[in-house]
Amino acid sequence: MSYTLPPLPYAYDALEPAISAQIMTLHHSKHHQTYVNNLNAALAAQATATSANDVPAAVANLQAIKFNGGGHINHSLFWQNLSPPGSNSATSAANLGKAIAAAWGSQDAFQDAFSKTLLGLQGSGWGWLVKHTVTGQLSIVTTKDQDPVAADEVPIFGVDMWEHAYYLQYLNSKPDYVKNIWTVINWKVAEERFNGGRGDAFKVLRAQLS
């Protein structure tokens, strides 16, 4: 069994003008593909170390699984929680919208808080809206590098804040990327994830095993 790159649910240029076709092409066909390749290699190395009862090798390999597995998980979730501009407005997320209003007061206040969190990230990482599995409550979290969200969180949507996600188009104007990302958030997928559990959010990964 190995993982394969999931196809994008839209064309490379479908997110323009928010995200250029050049960025989407490189991001999906090069960056995400590399995470998939390196994840498969790391999993194979883990199997070898495990069958050889080589615990030091198995432990030394864990970070490669976490980083590349995280890269595969995060990007798979990201592509699905984006959609062409104007195709999915926030008003289409009824239950999620209510929970957001309850937590932040309004959709605008939530988006301001989320944007501020994205811009406060130091280095490479992701911003997420998550639902806690125990309390059902929402919060905004960040994860560094390719760390995935915590095991007690359901990812509702994520935004990639690595420089490769915006630099060719926005250069150092990170606030403009953050402003425009709101035009391509897929609120229909966000609503589905909010109504479901972790298994529902991650089903895209199981679909890419062959």
Partner: protein
């Protein structure tokens, strides 16, 4: 591609000190104790070469953005958070000081790292790429076998950085030995280790020119390494 760099020229000023914090811009203290925290500000150092001078290893467009935008943002943010830190100290607000520490670390580190980086690069016409000599050359041969082996190890360290960060040739201040260390984000080489030679592995350092082919950036940068600067940093 996005704008034309070729006409942009930036000459070094007479002052080339990497870090000019606490420069002459402000009086140290004015008035009564506790009443004022006027202090010298960090300033963006001039590059010791033109923006286009490191081509083809690093494009003029990258150099201009990297220096005039990215580095400059670290400088202004560091000054901003330093002022807030001074206020928190004068108010004896420990929680605020702790909350500001990561911001000082990040932006101050960004300023220190980039200042060292510009100076350990040089155009070929100014000696860029000429191999090290003397004590540093000897230490590299002793520790890594050869300069080529060292470069291979350094490139492997750079390629292995997960996320944003830097790789450094460092000197252990306790033993005097040299070695390769990577640092996350803008963590600076301070404390036990002394920075000798740093390479920026953030995507903004190469992406406009190399995109996802970062190994090509790591291999090209050796043509513009200023080993003379590195030698001077070794003690």
């Amino acid at each position: 591609m996005i704008f034309n760099m070729s006409a942009t020229i930036l000459r070094a000023s007479a002052t080339r000190s990497a870090l000019r914090a606490a420069a002459s811009s402000a009086p140290k203290r004015a008035g009564l104790a506790g009443a004022s925290f006027v202090r010298g500000k960090a300033t963006l150092p001039d590059l010791p070469y033109d923006y286009g001078a490191l081509e083809p290893a690093i494009s003029g467009q990258i150099m201009e953005l990297h220096h005039s935008k990215h580095h400059n943002t670290y400088v202004t943010s560091y000054n901003n958070f330093s002022e807030q830190m001074a206020s928190a100290q004068s108010a004896q607000d420990i929680a605020a000081q702790i909350a500001l520490q990561p911001l000082i670390n990040f932006h101050g580190g960004g300023h220190v790292n980039h200042s060292l980086f510009w100076e350990n690069l040089a155009p070929k016409s100014q000696g860029g790429g000429e191999p090290p000599s003397g004590q540093l050359s000897k230490k590299i041969d002793e520790s890594f076998g050869s300069l080529e082996e060292f470069q291979k190890k350094m490139n492997a360290a750079l390629a292995g950085i997960q996320g944003s960060g830097w790789a450094w040739l460092v000197q252990d201040t306790q033993t005097g030995n040299i070695g390769i260390k990577t640092y996350a984000n803008q963590d600076a080489v301070v404390g036990q280790f002394r920075p000798i030679l740093g390479i920026d592995a953030w995507e903004h350092a190469y992406y406009l020119q190399y995109q996802n082919r970062k190994a090509e950036y790591f291999s090209a940068i050796w043509d513009i390494i200023n080993w003379k600067t590195a030698e001077k940093r070794l003690k």
